[in-house]
């Protein structure tokens, strides 16, 4: 008589395997979701740091290589201006705009240096109570002054997910000799 082939999984084995796989998947889901969220935040953080470092380096390069001899600061409405004069006679202007959303306008931020725009990275937005756009990543505060022969440029950024406030923070002696 031919012996019946009885190889294969029993229903109990399959059930146990399914249950184990489901338990593993469920237990891993929350940690995978957390990692995905963390990865997204890290990519935001990287973009912010790259942006900050790029602009900081552009300004610092001029301050170091061309030597700042004069700096004038002014403010008009939502615009902040710094006009820097270097030892070789050239001038460059840093313009920062910080318009926060209100009843009639959306958030609007802008930084330009030496006539070149440095668009601020965007990471999504929400609406205020007047249905105006509020960016998640915004210029939080600006402090630009020239006290005691020292030019101080502080442009602080804010993102709700980062307790650390990233900033362009440049200090430079004026007419250092």
């Amino acid at each position: 008589m031919k012996i019946k082939n009885e190889k294969g999984f029993t229903i109990v084995e399959i059930l146990i395997t399914f249950i184990l796989v489901i338990i593993l998947t469920v237990s891993m889901y929350s940690s995978v979701a957390a990692y995905k969220n963390k990865q997204q935040l890290e990519s935001y953080r990287e973009k912010i740091i790259t942006y900050k470092n790029l602009l900081t380096k552009e300004i610092q390069d001029d301050l170091i290589m061309n030597e700042l001899v004069q700096a004038q600061t002014s403010k008009s409405g939502n615009f902040f201006y710094v006009t820097m004069t270097f030892r070789n006679g050239t001038t460059k202007q840093l313009v920062v705009k910080r318009q926060l959303a209100n009843e009639t306008q959306d958030d609007s931020f802008m930084i330009s240096y030496g006539g070149i725009d440095y668009p601020i990275p965007t990471f999504g937005s929400s609406k205020n109570e007047y249905n105006r756009k509020e960016e998640d990543f915004r210029i939080n505060n600006i402090d630009i002054n020239t006290n005691n022969q020292l030019l101080t440029i502080y442009i602080g950024f804010y993102h709700p997910n980062f307790s650390t406030r990233y900033a362009i923070d440049i200090v430079c002696p004026i007419n250092f000799a």
Binding site: N53, I64, L150, S163, T164, I170, V171, F176, A177
Partner: protein, 183 residues
Amino acid sequence: MQKQKRNGFALAETVVVSVFVMAIFSMIYTNFYPLMGEYERRETYDDVDSKYASYWIKRLIQSDDFIFSTTTKNNINGSTAYQKITCNNTYFKGDKINLCNQLYQSFGVKNVYLITYNTQKFRTKVTSNPSSFSAGLEEYVLYLPNYSSPSLNNAKYRIIVEYQRTKDDNDYYAYSTIEVKRE
């Protein structure tokens, strides 16, 4: 009677394989985890802000208003191996004292160590007297190369600057080094 077929793994085999796999995973974990911490620490070494701040401190020390006394030189080149530079009339004269104070405050400078271009002597000093220096400085000095080849700019000295910063509401130290050309 037909002999019952007993395909499958014995308990001993399963246990051996499980222990082997667990041993491999724990080895990977113990080797990988410290690397993450080290990476995070090194984020605070020679970043763009610290390097820029160190440049201005170097300019202060290279200026004519820096008092580079024989005592300072002897301390750096002798067994002391370093000199802490502070903003007072021991090291600076004229307007530079005030400028030094402003820069130290603006950049969050905690300590400035003026040492020889080659870091070997200072490294030995820090590692043999850990209680005199912060743990962060010791790690940074161990991370730095010796700079055993002469400077391309003929610099004889360098500064190591320790900055106090805040991140996620926690204070931490950042470090940066730059060569100093001074006779």
